[in-house]
Amino acid sequence: MSDHFPEGLLMNYHLMFKKFKKEAILAVQKAVKAGLWRSEREPAYDILRAMFTNLNTIYGLPTLVLIVDDHEYYSRVTDMIALPKPSLVSALHEYRHHMQHYGLGHYEDDEIDARGWSVSLFRKALPKSFKKAWSEGKIWFMPPYPTEQE
């Protein structure tokens, strides 16, 4: 893993990763097209499970389990992700911890790495949705959305 962060990029998580596998971008787009943001809770969790299956195939990683719980977490002990809500960015964040577990992390700080990877992939796959969500403050850890004067 890298020892340092790009100068000035610490909070600009959407700029921390520039290149992604094309199939990973498609997997994220497919989840949204399948109705992730329009579905009821249970079908939405199933859409995320399908996305994880696709990502595991793309990155060659072991199966993981997605459960509903009070807290959002990734357990290396059991290869398990928990989400209180079927959030795309949260799902990608926790999936990045799964990648880190199997040696696919990049930045030394695994939280920074997970925030950067998930937000950057969201921006890459769904640029309009990313911009809207950022401007509405719906993405954690991001700096304030830049105004036109900036």
Binding site: Y73, Y74, R76, H93, D109, E111
Partner: protein
């Protein structure tokens, strides 16, 4: 802070705690299983460790941050000790997209 507790590691909006495993047994286990929400839990031990990490975060970061500001947890285990990284952000309980 008690002498046996290590100082937590900290980074950009996260703090890592070492939580000794406390196997739940007997009557306590029966009580715990009633309150443990998901059936998928591989062991009650993990759930208890999560609650202890969140509780410790809450105690150490009040009043600046509260329980609902816990964004996510990254859990590892070395032997009998859970290593739980608690990441936080204001109003995380409201969720993100």
């Amino acid at each position: 802070m008690a002498f046996f507790q290590k100082q937590p590691k900290e980074g950009e909006n996260w703090v890592e705690y070492e939580i000794p495993s406390m196997p739940v047994a007997g009557e306590a286990a029966a009580m715990f299983r009633i309150t443990a929400p998901p059936k998928e839990y591989p062991d009650a031990d993990l759930h208890l460790a999560i609650e202890r990490a969140v509780g410790r975060f809450n105690r150490e970061h009040t009043p600046e941050y509260k329980r609902g500001d816990v964004a996510d947890l990254y859990i590892d285990r070395k032997g009998d000790t859970f290593r739980i990284k608690v990441s936080y952000w204001p109003n995380a309980s409201e969720g993100q997209i």
